[in-house]
Amino acid sequence: MRVERLAGRMGLLDRRVLLVTGKGGVGKTTVATSLAVEAASRGKRVLLAETQGATRVSELFGRRSAGYEVQPLGPDLYTLSITGEAAIEDYVVAQVKVRAIYKMVFRNRVMAPFMDGVPGLHDLVQLGKVMDLEREKSFGRPVWDLIVVDAPATGHGLTMLDGPSAMMDLTVAGPFHEGAKQIQQLFSDPERTGIVLVSLPEDMPVNETLELHERLGSYRDQVQACVLNEIREPPFADLSAWEAARPHLADLGEAVELTDRAVARARAQDQARGRLAALGCPLLELPLLDSRRLRAPQLEKLGRRLA
């Protein structure tokens, strides 16, 4: 098993790029941020990249987002919000060399919707931006030790990883084809790029995680960990005793019904753990937190749990 060999040699935070993905609403941003905070606290210079123009990270730190510009969040921790539009501009300008030509040729009323409609281009260029950042150097060493990418939700996340090959299929040859190939090389290199899946301890999200893992295809070996988020304390350790105990407590009404649900949830959690073990990667757990209070110190705590 190639993965296990690699995992034995490298920690979760030792790659250049970590892509965090999962079903919508499972806590991808929380997990991505926690990982970035932890890596930074270990002295790595970390960039946390949001995709599709999301700006939730700066909100978590109580700041106004600087968008596509890299913005500091703390010592060794930086963020930016990548948008398809800005990344297309970067990408095309890198090819045509002159920004004025890009603006004139591609951003006019007629061509702009056409450029936005080139299949896979939005996805490809966002990964391309990450690649550029990964390659950025200062005094001969990389500017970023680790780039954590808060990737889009499951379906779109896959489309995004599919972006380079979609572009390669579409173009057959030329600079876009070459560019796509280089992007593909970075993201499919298990030494440089790792994938973290995020899930919830319920049936549906677990189904989707297993399905996502399956559909990752050649990227599957790069899954470094699966994070099970929003884990709750079981009401008591021995769940199997509940059915026998319940009739004796029937007079307690609402409290018993609430316990029924807590027991059901705890069992679903155990089941989720069991099913996700089939992924063959480390399963990490995060407790359910009051999201009103989800701020930097909480994220640090979560990060320590993860790493």
Binding site: K23, G24, G25, V26, R56, V92, Q95, V96, I101, M104, V105, F106, R109, V110, M111, P113, F114, D116, G117, V118, P119, G120, P152, A153, G155, A166, L170, V172, A173, G174, P175, F176, H177, E202, D203, M204, N207, E208, P234, P235, F236, A237, D238, A244, A245, H248, L249, L252, E254, A255, V256, L258, T259, A262, A264, R265, D290, S291, R292, L294
Partner: protein, 359 residues
């Protein structure tokens, strides 16, 4: 006239389940209902008690009411659009066999949303339904659903046509060269001459459908702004809910589209009291220590449920401060596997189905 209910919301809020439950509630209220979902998961089909869902309507076996369910098939809907409106068989085949068309009909960003609108129009035109409930593709922001069709329609805008594929009788590639030498020069270098030829060929071929496409675009637009349509935002009591809800309300206002209200899913029920007891003594056959642990667990359950409800209150307050109808659906625990579970949710949506009766 067919009424339309469009459920928007970001990923993971339970939009598909809510759409199905809402459709069920309408069907039970005596309407002929269709629900068009996006969720590729089998779960919804299972919970409705029907086989795998596809583009065509499947009747849900109900004792009371008429409900059809279907799942959007992007490629099939595109193909049907082309088959229906291509001016000739030769034009039709030219489009269907174009390589860029095959990309566009399945992978083009926004294509999903565009075809959802097209399928919606088909269902309305059929005259078979009193109500069509539309589940929308998951997106980070609910509003993307409303913007995407415009982006795709923009692709077929006369401007692009003019630029890329002007004279109708010319081959796309030659026409492209007449459009703009700078543009084509750069594009050719970037994505290759062959690809540009195919793309131009595609737009050239699509020109025959242009009138039909813009006609349908206008029809959808009118429909969405008409009295017949209600938009609903499906959300959860999370801190990000307010920002999204405000953005959604503003976008609808700006576009003159009617916002019906917010369905707030998975609201943690608040226990009536946190006092629990008295606890009976340890029954015979139970280990005293184990009994103690269980009683502690039961005693703590209401307080812990109450804390959870408390943590959601600010989000709920913020949503209700927006002055839009709010329909909370309690967290009923567990996944929705069958019609009974779906019915339990539907039971909480009565006020959505008959707003005049409650407001």
């Amino acid at each position: 006239m067919t009424q339309i209910v469009i459920c928007c919301g970001s990923g993971g809020v339970g939009k598909t389940t809510t759409s199905a439950a809402l459709a069920l509630a309408y069907a039970r209220a005596g309407q002929r209902v269709a629900v068009l979902t996006i969720d590729p998961a089998r779960r919804l089909a299972d919970s409705l008690g029907v086989g795998p869902l596809g583009n065509e309507a499947q009747r849900v076996p109900l004792d009371d009411g008429q409900l059809d369910a279907m799942m959007l098939d992007m490629k099939a809907t595109w193909d049907r659009l082309v088959e229906r409106f291509a001016p000739s068989e030769a034009e039709r085949d030219r489009i269907l066999q174009n390589r860029y068309y095959r990309f566009a009909s399945t992978r083009l960003a926004g294509s999903h949303e565009y075809m959802a609108m097209e399928r919606l129009l088909e269902l309305v035109e059929s005259g078979d339904y009193d109500i069509v409930v539309l589940d929308t593709p998951p997106s980070r922001h609910a509003v993307e659903f409303l913007k995407a069709p415009g982006r795709i329609a923009g692709l077929f805008d006369e401007g692009v046509m003019t630029w890329l594929a002007l004279p109708k009788n010319s081959r796309g590639f030659r026409a492209l060269e007449r459009g703009s030498e700078v543009v084509t020069g750069v594009l050719k270098r970037l994505i290759g001459q062959g690809t540009i030829g195919e793309i131009a060929e595609f737009f050239d071929a699509m020109q025959g459908l242009w009138d039909a496409l813009s006609e349908r675009g206008r029809a959808v637009d009118e429909l969405l702004r008409s009295e017949a349509t209600r938009f609903i935002l499906v959300t959860t009591p999370a801190p990000a809910a307010r920002a999204e809800a405000r953005e959604f309300r503003k976008l609808l206002e700006d576009n003159g589209m009617p916002l019906a209200g917010f369905i707030v899913n998975r609201v943690s029920p608040r226990p009536s009291t946190t006092e629990v007891g008295p606890f009976p003594a340890c029954p015979a056959g139970f280990d005293a220590e184990a009994w103690e642990r269980i009683c502690e667990g039961v005693a703590a359950a209401p307080a812990s449920a109450s804390r959870l409800a408390e943590s959601e209150q600010p989000a709920l307050d913020e949503l209700s401060a927006l002055g839009v109808e709010l329909w909370p659906v309690p967290d009923l625990g567990g996944d929705v596997h069958d019609l009974d579970a779906l019915s339990a949710i539907a039971a909480h949506l009565g006020a959505v189905v008959q707003p005049e009766a409650t407001s």
